[in-house]
């Protein structure tokens, strides 16, 4: 049903069965069904019928990870909102927040079934019991087991759901300050269904690339997909009126910095939680995440220092973000030195990618492609040069050789670019025809906050 990680060996499963009673106590006792209790009392007898005992420690970390990843949504909202003009600050935050509501509901209704249900042709998932999450309690006593570790199924579902929320929210940065809210809502809903769910199923679910990609937490599934979607959208929708002649200064960089802080912290849940353990790989993922973020931030700051003799705070967080994106697929797969390099190299490339954008003149307003897309691609491929062990020892892949793995990585990247690129374009086109995507000139001048939401972000600016 799920192949984000390969199954543990049969031996391990056997050990699990043998030991189940010994740890049954740790289980959710208040709701434990009778057989489990009997088994526990019988002390050493195998209890094949009972659902496996829940590991409270892993569950605790997964619950925490859910909180951390959800915290990234307000983090992203702050990050983006600080960079736009005053008149669009609320509208920009709403782009992130509304994803929590729309995708939050979509995920429980059909999203989880489409991502992690049984595969239909290796392309999309389906499982009636997952629709509306109606059959979760009934299945395995509500538990979910992966690689021998059992957690409540709801916890796994919610963790995965947070990724579905944040992915479309990332795209919003590419067409900041110029789209209709209603069209945006329709766009992220359809994009999730048509782009995110298939990609997620293909690579993390039981799809045709399952157990092939090294993509711990979504370099390919999330950042490349969102980055490409952003690029396509920026090109298709066109630049903000006045861009680039009129300077569009960030309205509140302190907000962007706070958002970046929340993103850094939240990313620990993002990457480490994706190991679905509370063990060695989890610790490793956290350490590599930290290293790449630090190295990325430092690289950008040093680069700016060299080129401009000034180091900006926006540069700091841009580099941090590039490092975090690049390490996302690789956090459990590379050495500490590799993490350092995956902070450094993608950041330098992103730096110049952003300068390139300025030359090419398209308006990827908050550099969704320049950071997420570019660092995502560099990370997904670059990780191959810093593996800490043979691919087959890494949790999420079954490749035999380095070369074989490299092919898988390239396949993943190509797939994500192709699927996201083509379908995003189709979606934009259709929505644009049906309901219009861009704001009218007047609304764009007046700002999204007033025109779309009937509000002003900073009442404090006016004497009241």
């Amino acid at each position: 049903m799920n192949s984000r990680f390969k199954m543990g060996s049969p031996l391990l499963a056997l050990a699990a069965a043998a030991l189940a009673p010994a740890i049954a106590f740790a289980q959710d006792a208040a709701t434990a069904v009778a057989p489990a209790v009997d088994a526990a009392v019988a002390a050493a007898a195998p209890a094949p019928a009972a659902p496996p005992a829940i590991d409270t420690g892993t569950t605790a970390w997964m619950l925490t990870s859910i909180c951390l990843v959800l915290l990234m949504v307000p983090g992203l909202a702050l990050f983006y909102a600080g960079l736009v003009r005053t008149k669009n600050v609320l509208g920009t935050m709403m782009h992130s927040f509304i994803a929590m509501a729309i995708i939050g509901v979509m995920w429980v209704v059909v999203g989880y079934a489409m991502c992690f249900g049984d595969t239909i042709g290796g392309v999309i998932g389906w499982n009636p019991a997952y629709l509306g999450l109606s059959g979760i309690d009934a299945k395995d006593g509500g538990t979910f087991t992966m690689a021998g570790v059992t957690i409540p199924h709801f916890v796994y579902i919610m963790f995965q759901g947070k990724f579905a929320i944040i992915t479309p929210a990332l795209i919003a940065g590419a067409f900041a300050e110029r789209v209709k809210f209603s069209s945006y809502c329709v766009f992220i809903l359809l994009w999730s269904l048509l782009v995110y769910c298939p990609l997620c199923h293909i690579i993390w679910g039981a799809g045709f690339l399952s157990c092939k990609n090294i993509d711990l937490a979504g370099g390919t599934v999330i950042h490349i997909a969102a980055g490409i979607a952003g690029l396509v959208a920026a090109l298709y929708l066109g630049a903000r009126r006045g861009y680039p002649k009129q300077t569009m200064s960030p309205n509140n960089l302190t907000m962007t910095l706070l958002g970046a802080g929340l993103l850094w912290v939240g990313w620990f849940g993002f990457n480490s939680g994706s190991t679905i353990q509370s063990g060695l790989d989890t610790g490793r993922a956290l350490a590599m995440t930290q290293i790449a973020a630090a190295a990325g931030a430092l690289s950008w700051v040093v680069l700016e220092g060299i080129i401009h003799k000034k180091a900006t705070s926006l540069g700091f967080v841009s580099g941090m973000l590039a490092g975090l994106v690049a390490i996302t697929p690789a956090a459990n797969a590379v050495t500490p030195f590799g993490a350092l390099m995956l902070g450094l190299i993608p950041t330098v490339i992103c730096y110049f990618a952003v300068q390139m954008k300025n030359k090419l003149g398209y308006d990827d307003s908050l550099d969704v492609f320049g950071i997420h897309g570019v660092a995502g691609i560099v990370g997904a491929i670059g990780l191959m040069f810093f593996l800490r062990t043979e691919p087959k020892n890494i949790a999420s892949t079954c490749a035999d050789t380095w070369g074989g793995q490299m092919v898988y990585q390239l396949e993943g990247v190509a797939l994500s670019i192709a699927v996201s690129g083509v379908l995003t374009l189709v979606l934009l086109f259709v929505i644009n025809k049906v309901m219009g995507f861009r704001l009218s000139a007047e609304a764009e001048q007046a700002g999204m906050d007033h025109a779309l939401h009937g509000e002003h972000g900073y009442g404090l600016l006016n004497l009241n």
């Binding site: 009129q246 007047e442 001048q445 007046a446 007033h450 939401h453 509000e455 006016n462 004497l463 009241n464």
Partner: protein, 113 residues
């Protein structure tokens, strides 16, 4: 010399700036203010429509030599209007300016404008 003060809708600031530049009036001072005229502005607060007593406006100050007064005023009027003119489009006040001094050079009068 004249000091021209215009209170306009903030969403027209860019257009007015541009129009003035096209008319070769590039020096300008802008600040935020709030004002009350005839216009009503509707915000929403928890499902209720509220109309703030004071509405955000942009305040432009331009010092010009007398010969430029007309073109400045006309340019602002044209660029600041919404369509054929909407409530809240703003006001222009013209005052006499006795002296104008450029701090950098100490120059005075017409050439310091």
């Amino acid at each position: 010399m004249k000091l021209i003060i215009a209170i306009i809708q903030p969403d027209k600031l860019d257009a007015v700036r541009q129009a003035l530049i096209d008319a070769e009036i590039t020096r300008i001072t802008v600040s935020r203010c709030t004002g009350h005229g005839r216009q009503e502005d509707i915000d929403l607060y928890r499902g209720q429509e509220v109309s703030p007593n004071l509405i955000p406006k942009a305040r432009i100050e331009i010092a010009v030599n007398d010969g430029f007064e007309k073109v400045t005023v006309d340019t602002i009027i044209k660029a600041a209007r919404h369509g054929d003119g909407k409530l809240g489009d703003g006001k222009i006040f013209v005052q006499d300016l006795v002296r104008c001094i450029r701090i950098r050079t100490g120059e005075e009068g017409g050439e310091a404008i």
